[in-house]
């Protein structure tokens, strides 16, 4: 079954569309020509990154680049995640849970097996990120998958109704990151310049906090709006208004 709106989007080749295609093809040609003129070998920053790896506190060069060499990018990125949630929360309210079907017993017993394993995998990815592929982003995504599954089985009221804790966990990653970034300046370093002896520990601390915030951020985006807290629902029913 297709809704009618799918078909209002016609794909006929009008003169306007031909012009767009011509423009895009010209752009692609120019970009392709630029790509072809790049040198076939370039060491980039790989050699420098590997040489500094022993000072970075971790053994995985990508984690070192994410949290040490380019820590400033990642700090701002965590802030962007927070801004996305603020944007979504100010645009819409979450669908009331009644919109979901009650979960089937098969799904529930499947989740009982799978969810603990997923949480374990999230922790494992966080831990292994310091010396092999993995890290806070991958682990956070798996943890977000746990929250999404809980949402789909309508079991997540406890998570979204405690708004104070929810907000605390959402800003945890950014606050810890900023605290560490500024805190290392007390020891005489620059912003985000971890002392060599503690770099590994500090990176793990930031990553653990970021893992929780990333997971909750992605899950909050999936919920698609600010969940009604218990106080909101009771306030709404006090006024005789049905919460939307």
């Amino acid at each position: 079954m297709n809704a009618p709106d799918d078909f209002t989007d016609d794909t006929r080749l009008t003169p306007l569309r031909l012009m767009i295609m011509l423009f895009v093809l010209t752009l692609a040609g120019a970009l392709g020509w630029a790509v072809c003129s790049l040198p076939a070998y370039s060491s980039g920053l790989a050699v420098t990154a590997l040489a500094e790896l022993s000072n970075s506190g971790v053994l995985n060069p990508v984690t070192a680049a994410v949290l040490n060499y380019r820590g400033y990018d990642t700090l701002l990125e965590i802030a962007v995640l927070l801004l996305a949630v603020i944007g979504v929360w100010s645009l819409a309210q979450a669908e009331p849970p009644a919109a979901f079907e009650p979960a089937s017993p098969v799904l529930l017993s499947f989740l009982r097996i799978v969810l603990p394993l997923m949480i374990l995998i999230a922790g494992y990815l966080l831990w292994i990120g310091s010396f092999a592929p993995g890290g806070a982003f991958q682990g956070g995504a798996v943890l977000a998958g746990v929250l999404v599954l809980l949402r789909l089985s309508n079991q997540d009221r406890a998570i979204w109704s405690h708004e104070v804790w929810l907000r605390f966990c959402l800003v945890l990653g950014l606050s810890v990151f900023i605290a560490v970034a500024v805190g290392v300046m007390a020891g005489g370093g620059k912003l985000l310049e971890y002392p060599r002896a503690h770099a590994g520990m500090l990176i793990l601390l930031i990553e653990s906090a970021a893992l929780i915030s990333i997971a909750l951020t992605l899950a909050a985006l999936f919920v698609g709006g600010r969940a009604l807290s218990d106080e909101d629902s009771s306030r709404a029913s006090d006024n005789g208004v049905q919460p939307e």
Binding site: T8, L45, E77, G87, L91, A92, L218
Partner: protein, 105 residues
């Protein structure tokens, strides 16, 4: 003539970018525009990683770190875009932008 793998994948990145850009301009449905933005972003990521692949002895980790953060940011942008599209639909009743209403028919 041998085609270097990095060149093949970098050109594929340009191709994905172009396909996404065309769909972004030519299609009117907002969900398709969001999909098109995602395809464009993936094209950029593919180009960056193909460029990073050239270096020895390991692939350049700095572009890889940029793409790693970029993937997470693009998911957040998708979530925000979906919330905005939802708002457009509740306000106007249609899943297209306002100026497409007259010319789209």
């Amino acid at each position: 003539m041998t085609l270097e793998p990095y060149l093949l994948y970098a050109l594929a990145g340009v191709g994905l970018f172009a396909i996404g850009l065309y769909a972004l301009i030519a299609r009117t449905h907002l969900l398709r525009k969001i999909l098109a933005l995602n395809v464009m972003g993936t094209g950029v990521f593919l180009f960056l990683i193909a460029i990073a692949y050239r270096s020895e002895p390991v692939a350049d980790p700095v572009p890889q770190a940029m793409v790693l953060t970029g993937i997470v940011v693009s998911v957040c942008a998708t979530g925000l875009a979906l919330a905005l599209a939802h708002r457009v639909q509740t306000t106007t009743g249609r899943m297209v932008l306002a100026e497409n209403d007259e010319s789209g028919a």
